[in-house]
Amino acid sequence: MKSLRGTWAIGWNTFTELVRMKVFYFLLIFALLIIGNSAFVAKFSFQEQFQMLKDISLGAMAVFTSLLAILATANFLPKDMEDRTIYTILAKSVPRFSYLLGKLIGILLLLGLAILLMTGLFLAVLWLREHWVLAETRAQLAGAPAEEVALAVREVTAATFNANLVPGIVIIFVKAALLASLTLFISTFSTSGIFAILMAVAVYFIGHLQATAREFWLAGVDIQWWTRVLAAVVALIFPDLQAFNLTDDVIAGVAVPTGLFLQTMALGGLYVAVYFFLAAIAFAGREL
């Protein structure tokens, strides 16, 4: 119980520390991006406007949360060692495992809040645009039969918010959580924050090709043995980040099957757990 309280205290402290670092200024850029985009695409048809608003907003959410996950996590250990706060914490009989878990909880809280704020902003802009287009449509169809107006209104509302967007946004958070856990793992054996960031970014790109390497390895096509070994190494070491790219299809209006969504969530959860435990093992043996 005491250990849990200690872990939570570290987590909360990490979260408040990150908030104080004014990382939420990125929200201003996000707001500018989606409001600016919203104004810029006014000349397009309403279907195009909403499609683009969703494209840009969800794409920006994915970029910002991924960047936040990597950049914020990579600096935890090097910074705490530089400030010597890590020695104070670990000297107070806080297990290294609890320390790392607290750090992970802190970044997950930050990512969750960031996603919530961005989603709120995105939905507010979407709602405002919807009402603006609806008012315009009603004005254009003034005097038209009620059935025709109802059909036009239905078309507008169908093009705006749909429940399919929710699983897409949740998956963005899961992917960011995975990246945070992965970066935490990398930072346990890295010597500097920059090294951890570079490694995490490299893993990010390679992770998106993992599925291709896995297929190449398992397909049994006629390739040289060393190529197959290389593909196997990529498939086994790197996470399958392509599995978390459901947003592109969600934006296109496709509903994510519940089974696929739950399995993707489970995969994300397993990756977070695996990287965290590997980080804990590596950190346990690290000389401080």
């Binding site: 054996f189 086994l236 296109a252 496709v254 000389e287």
Partner: protein, 252 residues
């Protein structure tokens, strides 16, 4: 220290192997649900450039497609039809599940570009203008057919293909099939089936089928008894020599 690091590496490989079945299952389910259909190949790499390809690889296909769509709009304002066709090809490759992109791209090609080609003052030969117009019709049709191959689970593009075949190709048999296909989806609007009936009525050899379909719609009730349906059905009755007693709107 080295032994511990090797141990961690070994565990990483083991965990990777343990997660493989789940990854494969997700990939199969995603493919079955028509997710992630984008073919990220060298052709796309050439079209979107290195940074664009990197963005597409990193899971930012949709924002990239949105930016390219804005570029296509600028090309439209400058009536650069060829450039538009190229951008549409890229956008639809990046976002093959977006019906809007397929639909709008096909509409731009088959309706706007084709009209522009026909009114091209720089081309004095009418034969060549007609040829260019037909090429744009074909381009629109190809886009819709490719769109359907990527979205076989949604009715909208079948409906648009039907409209294109009806209005631009005057291919009533093909249009009837497309409308009929669209109407087979549970969420398709009721007019898809009516359109299928109207087009079937113009398709030589399928008059009986058209009559049966239109009669079935007529018998569904007032909501289907639109003036066009009643007119086409009456025409079919005359054409097929349906006995007076079996006709839907009997003379008093």
């Amino acid at each position: 220290m080295i032994a511990r690091r090797l141990g961690v590496f070994g565990l990483l490989v083991l965990c990777g192997a343990a997660l493989l079945p789940l990854q494969i299952r997700i990939q199969r389910e995603a493919a079955a649900a028509h997710f992630r259909k984008t073919d990220l190949n060298l052709d796309l790499r050439e079209r979107v450039g290195q940074m664009g390809f990197l963005a597409a690889l990193s899971g930012f296909r949709s924002p990239l497609a949105a930016f390219l769509w804005i570029e296509a709009h600028t090309a439209w304002e400058n009536t650069e039809w060829g450039r538009m066709a190229g951008i549409f090809d890229t956008v639809t490759t990046l976002q093959p599940r977006s019906l809007l992109y397929w639909d709008m791209a096909a509409w731009h090609m088959a309706w706007n570009a084709s009209v522009a080609a026909m009114q091209d003052e720089k081309q004095p030969s009418e034969a060549l203008r007609i040829r260019a117009q037909r090429q744009y019709f074909e381009l629109g049709k190809e886009l819709l057919e490719r769109g359907i191959r990527n979205n076989p689970d949604r009715y909208q593009l079948y409906l648009q293909l039907g409209v294109l075949l009806r209005d631009k190709f005057e291919d009533h048999c093909g249009a009837a099939d497309a409308f009929l296909m669209a109407s087979s989806f549970p969420d398709a609007p009721p007019y898809c089936r009516r359109f299928a009936g109207y087009e079937m009525a113009k398709c030589p050899g399928r008059e009986r089928e058209a009559y049966d379909l239109l009669r079935e719609l007529y018998l569904q009730g007032e909501s289907q008894r639109l003036p066009t349906l009643v007119n086409v059905l009456t025409e079919m009755e005359k054409k097929l020599d349906i006995p007076e007693s079996e006709r839907v709107e009997q003379k008093p």
